[in-house]
């Protein structure tokens, strides 16, 4: 790797975290937002008597599509084509961006409207469009805020979770040319609404992602809360949908399960305000042409991993993010991927593969298991985190950590060496123990511990020494 390429790699999670933790405003916003959304989710989940069975059904539906993904995608393609749409296959981000950019440029437009889409964040489509002289306008309110600020989303579902309304007022005053704007939420929403309404009416091309696509019928589904998605999928003449190949589901009736799981898990609503479903094109109704771009970008590699593949079940609800105590301290930016939180920590390193820079993410978890409990499609995130850690360790070979853990493994492999190590620790600590505690540490892992914690000293008698003395008496 060249020097420049190494510099361009995003910093690791442990390096990015302190700045986020030091940002009190950020932590307060995230704390407030995740606390309220957790409570809402818990409330609407508790009122579904067969929630656990629904989770099982959701997992089974996603698995059914993933285990025959090749067939499901071809079935989807022919259904979309039959309904008058076009299907494009993209191996990676660059191919997807080229396809979309070419489609947009062929329409001769300088601007497109966009529905919030993680897949297009993942491939950095906006940058590709801008490079081709096309301005993408994000139409989800929070996504618009993030775009106007020149930032990246910090949460799957609430992309501007890190900003408060004074910050948003200043941004709108500056970027939308509204110097007299107040920070009243109604007034802020109205300003965005007027700005976006003009863009909707101008737009000839729209770009969306997809929450689900039904192989059986060729129907694509987008769920959202603001109606901007409905505008994008119905008003413009041309609609381009970029979707990860794992979003395909087998049958129409599967939506009956997934559309119960998704809103309750994500926004904590019984049903989301807007569910748009469309099948190809229809004369005189909606777009005159529809393009579906199927994106691989690492997904088939994930599918080949017997443990890691369950991550492809994800329906992007963000429940795991909202309960994650690590995310709660840092927000999403420290992850340096559109998929933050627990799901990002298992998905990003897998999608990026060996060459990726997300290797520190599987370690950004205390393995508390809260994510697994709330996952609507039962992804065992902690087990996949552990699996990804092992992959990362194998990849990096032995650093100091590897050497010491392997050494420790050998120490623990026999009673004699283990007891020797206990006695050695007791001897080595002697100069620094104060009242049974270690409070100052040498550089290394112990110093990291010692930044916010003391450590009890090895006592004069270990348990086994006590047991043996008791046995003798």
């Amino acid at each position: 790797m060249s020097e420049a390429a190494r510099d361009a790699r995003p910093e690791t999670f442990p390096h990015a975290a302190p700045a986020a933790i030091a940002n009190a405003q950020l932590r307060r916003n995230i704390h407030r937002a995740t606390t309220s959304i957790r409570a809402r989710r818990a409330g609407v989940v508790a009122e579904v008597p067969d929630w656990q069975e629904l989770r099982d059904a959701g997992a089974a539906i996603k698995d059914a599509a993933l285990w025959r993904l090749d067939e499901a995608l071809v079935q989807l393609e022919s259904a979309v084509v039959r309904a008058g749409g076009a299907v494009h296959w993209a191996r990676d981000a660059a191919e997807a961006n080229d396809i979309v950019t070419a489609l947009v440029c062929a329409e001769g437009v300088g601007e497109v409207v966009k529905v919030k889409s993680l897949a297009t964040d993942e491939i950095r489509l906006n940058e590709a469009l801008e490079a081709a002289g096309v301005t993408p306008v994000e139409t989800d309110l929070a996504e618009l805020i993030v775009q106007l600020a020149g930032e990246r989303p910090s949460h799957l579902l609430v992309p501007a979770i890190h900003k408060n309304r004074v910050e948003i007022r200043d941004l709108f005053r500056d970027q939308l040319g509204l110097p007299g704007l107040s920070d009243d939420p109604g007034e802020l929403a109205e300003a965005a609404r007027l700005h976006l309404r003009a863009a909707f009416l101008r737009a000839r091309v729209a770009i969306s992602g997809a929450n689900f696509a039904v192989a059986q019928t060729g129907t694509v589904c987008v769920v959202e809360s603001e109606g901007n998605g409905r505008m994008c999928t119905t008003l413009p003449e041309v609609l381009i949908t970029v979707m990860g190949i794992e979003k395909v589901i087998p049958e129409w009736r599967d939506l009956g399960v997934l559309l119960q799981l998704l809103p309750r898990s994500s926004t904590g609503e019984r049903m989301n305000p807007y569910t748009s479903l469309w099948t190809g094109v229809r004369e005189g109704d909606g777009p005159r042409s529809f393009h579906l771009v199927l994106l691989d970008a690492g997904r088939t590699r994930v599918l080949a991993d017997r443990v890691g593949r369950d991550a492809l079940r994800c329906i992007r609800c963000s429940a795991c993010i909202n309960v994650c105590p690590v995310y709660r301290q840092t927000g999403g930016h420290a992850y340096h991927t559109p998929y933050a939180g627990p799901i990002g920590a298992i998905l990003a390193p897998q999608l990026e593969g060996e060459q990726g820079s997300a290797g520190s993410l599987p370690f950004a978890s205390s393995l508390c298991g809260a994510c697994y409990d709330v996952c609507p499609v039962k992804i065992d995130i902690p087990s996949i985190l552990v699996h990804e850690r092992a992959k990362q360790v194998r990849r990096e070979r032995a650093g100091i950590e590897g050497l010491s853990l392997r050494r420790l493994g050998r120490v623990l492999a026999s009673r004699a060496s283990y007891e020797r190590a206990q006695r050695l620790a007791r001897r080595l600590q002697r100069p620094v123990v104060r009242d049974g505690w270690l409070t100052r540490f040498p550089p290394g892992p112990l110093a990291a511990w010692g930044r916010s914690r003391d450590l009890p000293a090895v006592p004069d008698q270990t348990f086994r020494e006590w047991w043996e003395s008791r046995d003798r008496s």
């Binding site: 933790i21 978890s365 393995l367 697994y372 552990v386 493994g409 009673r415 914690r453 450590l455 008698q461």
Partner: protein
């Protein structure tokens, strides 16, 4: 009917918290059980598995099942070590676990769910707040077994811990690999503990207590971290 148990004390309690092991022995013997401590035992392999070293963990798991195979019941005062044995040994050992995981119990589980005992004849006095550790809560699903044991102690006044189910931030090597995030999580847990005004913070895992206790000591707080076994043994 269980009348003899093998004690897996955990490497952490053996080395740093002998009083937790001693208390476990006291409680079990008070109930008339014969306790055996096989001296060959070292570590269950949790740290290695969770840190990405499954081969080292597997070797330790093999030792564990060999050492504890002779026992009809194995007990340990650690929710996370027992969770590893019960939830992950079968996969790690590809089924060659000799049935040991199914006979291995966390202390409160053994007492309440297996032996059907809640009152163990303890005489502890004080206000106690209980932190349900993540692995006993979400992996082992010990539920309210520890609380039922605490409620049966006449002198214990239980004070509810705010946001009790939030992780304390320990997570094994997570605490050093992501020390800043871990420390921020600990700060929140300590604030909750201090807000209760309790004299004692109690849990079923010496590792979480080492983290919480290490934080309390650093801040000079007077709250005592005690393992459930220590309260039950008094």
């Amino acid at each position: 009917m269980i009348d003899r148990v093998g004690l897996f004390v955990t490497c952490l309690a053996d080395t740093l918290y002998p009083e937790v092991g001693q208390a476990t022995v006291t409680v079990l013997e008070r109930l008339g059980l014969e306790v055996i401590f096989p001296l060959e035992q070292t570590c269950c392999g949790q740290m290695h598995l969770n840190s990405g070293y499954p081969d080292e963990a597997r070797a330790l798991a093999e030792r564990f099942v060999e050492i504890f195979e002779p026992f009809d019941a194995v007990v340990s005062p650690s929710g996370s070590c027992v969770a590893l044995v019960r939830e992950h040994y079968a996969g790690l050992l590809e089924g060659a676990d000799r049935g040991v995981p199914g006979r291995t119990w966390e202390l409160s589980q053994l007492l309440v769910d297996v032996l059907g005992v809640e009152d163990v004849g303890s005489g502890f006095e004080g206000t106690v707040t209980y932190h349900p550790t993540c692995h006993s809560l979400r992996l082992l699903r010990v539920g309210d077994a520890p609380l039922r044991l605490l409620r049966a102690v006449p002198g214990v006044e239980l004070v509810e811990l705010p946001d009790a189910e939030e992780c304390c931030g320990f997570g094994g090597t997570f605490a050093v690999k992501n020390a800043d995030v871990s420390g921020a999580m600990l700060d929140e847990k300590l604030s909750s503990v201090l807000a209760t005004g309790a004299e004692v913070v109690c849990a079923c895992d010496a590792s979480c207590l080492m983290h919480i206790g290490g934080g309390l000591h650093r801040r000079g707080a007077a709250v005592r971290p005690l393992h459930l076994a220590e309260i039950l043994a008094s």
